[in-house]
């Protein structure tokens, strides 16, 4: 299992969503992607994409003005 860090702080629509999709495509089964960002809509929409893709949402948390989302590739 590999942990993949994605820094999408400051990025606007649709970049955080697209970067998560790209990372999931490259990841192996069991890998965990941790994405940190500031774009408000992406905090809602990344979990929607994770559900649509059938991957596993591990955690959503706030860190000051940033959010952190952890996803496991199934």
């Amino acid at each position: 299992m590999v942990k993949i860090d994605l820094d999408c702080r400051g990025q606007n629509c649709p970049v955080p969503l697209v970067e998560v999709r790209k990372a999931l495509k490259k990841a192996a089964k069991g890998d965990v992607i941790e994405v940190v960002g500031t774009h408000p809509a992406s905090k809602k929409e990344i979990p929607m994409a994770v559900e649509a893709l059938g991957e596993e949402l591990l955690e959503i948390k706030d860190q000051g003005k940033e959010w952190v989302i952890r996803i496991r590739k199934v």
């Binding site: 990025q11 606007n12 969503l17 697209v18 790209k22």
Partner: protein, 139 residues
């Protein structure tokens, strides 16, 4: 993966093409397949060096409005059209170029960025893609 989005990119306007690419990339990111069908003015954006060259659909003011919008987009950290296109291809997006438009506008294959184009086609190709699509738009 479930579902499909098919978009006709008829306009070559900067703001409309970027909207089409954002919707396309959002669809790919949410697990859908995507086909973009470039026709009429839209096809100019697939010419070599043409992707970012479209005018604004409103308040272009001989390119001044367009420069202002591009400046504001850079400030808001909006991705460039080239990045959106690179992401689109990386996520498996498909592009069809309209052959009739090429005939009408005198565009030759060598004028176009062939590395982006998966197929040359006509209305039948669009219908064949759109009939399998949950989302289809004309931009």
């Amino acid at each position: 993966m479930t579902g499909k989005t098919t978009i006709i990119v008829h306009s070559g306007d900067f703001d409309k093409v970027i909207s089409a690419l954002i919707i396309a990339n959002g669809s790919l990111s949410m697990g859908m397949d995507v086909t973009l069908y470039f026709t009429f003015w839209g096809l100019n954006r697939l010419k070599k060096g043409g992707l970012e060259k479209g005018p604004l659909s409103k308040m272009n003011m001989l390119g001044l409005g367009r420069s202002m919008v591009k400046g504001r987009m850079a400030k808001a950290n909006v991705a460039s059209m080239e990045k959106l296109m690179a992401d689109f291809k990386e996520l498996g997006g498909k592009i069809i170029a309209c052959e009739m438009t090429m005939d009408v506008m005198g565009i030759k294959k060598e004028d176009l960025r062939l590395e982006l184009i998966d197929e040359f086609g006509a209305v039948g190709s669009y219908v064949n893609e759109a009939r399998k699509s949950e989302i289809t738009l004309f931009i």
